[in-house]
Symmetry: C2
Amino acid sequence: MAKTDNVLALSPTPLYSQIREILRQRILDGTYQPHQQMPSESELIKAFSVSRITVRQALGDLQRAGLVFKIHGKGTYVSKPKAFQNIGQLQGFGEAMSRMGYETFSQVVSIKTLAAGKTVGAKLQVKEREQITELRRLRYLNRAPISLDVTYVPKAIGERLAKEDLEHRDIFLILENDYGLSLGQAEMQIEAMLADEPLARLLKVEEGSPVLRIERLTFTHDGQPLDYEHLYYRGDAFQYRLRIERGHL
Amino acid sequence: MAKTDNVLALSPTPLYSQIREILRQRILDGTYQPHQQMPSESELIKAFSVSRITVRQALGDLQRAGLVFKIHGKGTYVSKPKAFQNIGQLQGFGEAMSRMGYETFSQVVSIKTLAAGKTVGAKLQVKEREQITELRRLRYLNRAPISLDVTYVPKAIGERLAKEDLEHRDIFLILENDYGLSLGQAEMQIEAMLADEPLARLLKVEEGSPVLRIERLTFTHDGQPLDYEHLYYRGDAFQYRLRIERGHL
DNA sequence: CTCCATAACTTGTAATGACATGTCACAATT
DNA sequence: AATTGTGACATGTCATTACAAGTTATGGAG
């Protein structure tokens, strides 16, 4: 018999991900203290009655998530807790903020259907004359305006989005949960600029104030460009935070 | 006999990483075209005479690197080539720029040894009164000033660094290659601000110009904070680019 | 012709076994 | 006392086997 009977075995989620979550829990609740050694692979094998492959898959995920690190020949250790744990993953604005306990909502400024034009067309890979939807939203954090988001999506999606509750729901989550489009990756450019008059008025800052401008092109899992955004954040109220890894490939 | 004889077998690098690099090469040189299906796992097993575990490890690396994506039940596909491929990894400035064919050098403005103080001490996890090294450099891209870098490192490292060729070599690469410190991850915050007078003079821009301010704390592989930097980039000449993934954990 | 079961693929998960390699402590040797 | 093995234990790599689960084409039943 290949598969051993196991208390966890009848569950629908894979064994390694269950173990990963159990270990994650123990790290977060302090059962395994930062910078302390985790149980060795062979101990975990005995503890969970699984094979080494399964244990290694769980630990590998945790390592890639930045919760533990391994030293060849010594063991696996809990990372020091990081303020930014997990950031550096593609998240919508509300998604990221609500995770941190902030209250957000979005005010829809305008929804227009217009020709893609050269720039947007190139990004979304549609013809210049093809129609796309432009969605402008003002985003509020704790009731203060913090950013202007200009979103371009193909017309078909834009028309569906127009009927959604865009004030409270994240576009990313609508696309994924309601439309079944699985988002894969995004390319971003971040730069600094000065607020011109119309932008300053919307963000309730002085003209010439510093603004963080983020251009983001989001792709579906299979590489289709889906959502092209220009985000203008108040420089005095927002920092973009991320955690990055030094690659080992 | 467990291990099959294999043409690749006597090499010092692991099999899966050799196969990964071969496949990466074939993707980059167009042998496998974007959005086309890769050879299936069983075909790769036959082609390289290795086990499925090895093939999957190679493909998994490529997937995490964003070069391919998999669809359960269908196959593995080549991703569309991305302008930003691989960015989102921790790189030094020169490291990133020279990869793109730009010429850079750094002018050392000052090197001081001083007390850490509250902020820097907290980041580098040393006592407030402990001595650290502050290194100020003006970085040039194609002979135009593009950023001011203020770097804080523990005194012991700062004293060694002071003797290095900081004009042309990347600090990250010195730390890794010469000092054997393996860098793991970094936390960054990016914000927009206005150039004050001294900064404007250094960057040769007008006072009040937009500046991208990046605060970056870099850790060694085992989580020790090692290098705390404030980077001030000319807003008109620099965009921070990265590619991020939507997490699947 | 339509519908549906099925076979033949694909990738995903998991167990078991083996050997390689890095680390460290302790004992034996010099 | 300093050095050098050597063994115990950690993670790293790899092979083999088995079954689960998603996808697609095909062929037979209605």
